[in-house]
Symmetry: C3
Subunit: 257 residues, 3 copies
């Protein structure tokens, strides 16, 4: 029973996600459907790429990630299939799979075989008309080669890179803000694995601790979060509101003496 | 494996939808549950009818749509089953299936057989006590005749009709506003299939184009949307906020010279 | 096919719930996943306990409730398994199962066997690293004794108790406010089963009726709600906004002459 995990910016009010599921189940009745997120900010391809990259390692091998954040729908942007050793990805070729494509073992196809789409394709809802049916046919066992042709230039967003300076300081950036207001950076855990560290963001400092419980209620703390990156949190509070910062904010870490 | 698709105004916070699913799975353990929407505006029967009508064609034949937006719960409003060639519908007899009932091949039953309900029926949650168990028994193979008796007067809301004037102009109405702020009208695609059209809403004009990509960012455009009706959109923006209009707003289209 | 029902304060935006589902399906591919709520207010253990208690009776016997509202993650709070005759519960030992533990037939285990967790356990996301895998192993048939050891002191919150005074009056408290703004109290239905009653809240009075339909639109009414407790509602309105009250507000009921 193949899993199809869905990520969109459609919201859950209008039934658009349900429609995609109806299309999938019409083609692949035994697919196991899992919602990853439908509350990606409208047209925020970068956020979707981050959410996908973080979640994919925890799904069974062969999971199909159907991801539709598609500001270019109806234009010439290509429909895309990406396959890695671990998973398969179906969605628009607009950077939504940037994190995945950066991992080295990814192969890409442009989906150009309308026989695997719905008979009528609208100009505004390729999630329903192209991506859902292709994901379903993939789940039902259709080979990638029949769905499209190999390409070698899928769109990749430039993702901000952290850097280590000669004096030992680390500069990174907040790349995601979650539901709890935690500020997730692009600084990987192993860069701060040894010794004590302090961090500074928006002119304020906080120690790097190993668990929320080490600081007082409402106190800010940096720690290695569950995504394997440094994040800023406020214990039982909301760091994004406390610091009044969001995605793109710079972060500095330095080793304690 | 029969699909039961759920549409309610319950929201997802309180667990009411989960309770209905628990009831269904207690009776029909192999039912495949799909959420269509649980964010229908409280008591907005008309919105639910629209969402259902738009989604139902994309589900496999025989799908059971369990729809509960039920301001008359606890009063004398009847519980209803509607069956068309394509699908089955269970919910209150309050107009929630108006679009479906208008399609010609619909047959209706009032659900009056308490043996297919939960043993105790509350005055406030027939979704749990009547509709979910009936939908589950239907999925498990119980015949409609055992669940209730045929009726010929289910409640139908008067839906606004678009009109074509002698001078070629079309007058329609916004019947739905979606998550992206797109303004979806009741003017069918085939009325504007030939030639160029302009549209006017709230004192402002926009061309009718064939894809978002034909207009500049943040520019308004009319186009045939994925529901097969004319809709107003703002490219990478929110038409409802831009025009400051919502459901019920009038729309005019006229052929370009 | 064992049901695993999920209740969290994770929201649906970030993919955290989807990650837990990926972990579960990696271990127990045939588990049937149902969402109860992911919009518990951040860190509101009491609300989660109430939602669980209300929903659990409507799920099939043996259902596993995976509940993660976990302000103490990364501290010394224990991971917990609770089993009753009807259901199984997995989550942090912080009071989230208070209503269940108060029912008398509950047995508790602390989960101390890391072989049933993910290989790497973060300090911030035990839902993914401990609770989801344990729930999945439980669904796959692993015995409780292998997952942990019996304990007899799980954390229980003090829940407010209603009282009956010698003059026949009842004093209770609002313990939950739902999506519709209905104010749900802790006064059980059978306390008001006989005779007529009036209720007072926030200095205003309302009759106790048997269905919304007995009062006019926008009028307040007390009634026995679907949870088997007295609740205050405003017909086709929002009682919480009308009365401007929430959880913790006192309520008084008295028998009518």
């Amino acid at each position: 029973m193949t899993i199809i995990a869905l990520t969109t910016d459609f919201g859950l009010t209008d039934g658009y996600v349900g429609i995609m599921k109806g299309v999938i189940l019409s083609i692949a009745p035994h697919a196991c459907l899992v919602d990853l997120s439908h509350d990606i900010a409208p047209q925020d391809v970068r956020q979707a790429s981050h959410v996908l990259a973080r979640a994919a390692p925890y799904f069974p091998g062969g999971t199909i990630h159907l991801a539709v954040v598609d500001p270019g729908v109806g234009s010439h942007r290509r429909p895309l299939l990406v396959i890695t050793q671990r998973a398969r990805y179906v969605g628009p070729d607009n950077g939504i799979f940037s994190h995945v494509l950066g991992q080295g073992d990814a192969q890409a196809w442009t989906l150009d075989q309308p026989r695997y789409w719905l008979p009528q394709v609208s100009q505004t809802f390729h999630g329903r008309d192209i991506f859902a049916p292709v994901a379903a046919h993939l789940a039902a066992g259709v080979e990638p080669e029949r769905l499209g042709r190999r390409i070698h230039d899928p769109v990749c967003l430039a993702l901000p890179e952290p850097c280590r300076r000669p004096d030992g300081r680390i500069r990174g950036e907040i790349v995601y803000v979650d539901h709890f207001g935690n500020l997730i950076s692009n600084v990987p855990a192993d860069w701060v694995a040894r010794g004590g560290w302090s961090c500074r963001i928006a002119g304020r400092s906080a120690p790097l601790v190993s668990a929320y419980a080490e600081v007082a209620d409402a106190a800010p703390a940096g720690l290695v979060g569950s995504s394997g990156a440094v994040e800023l949190a406020v214990r039982n509070g909301n760091a994004s509101r406390t610091f009044n910062v969001g995605t793109g904010e710079k972060l500095e870490l330095w080793p304690m003496a």
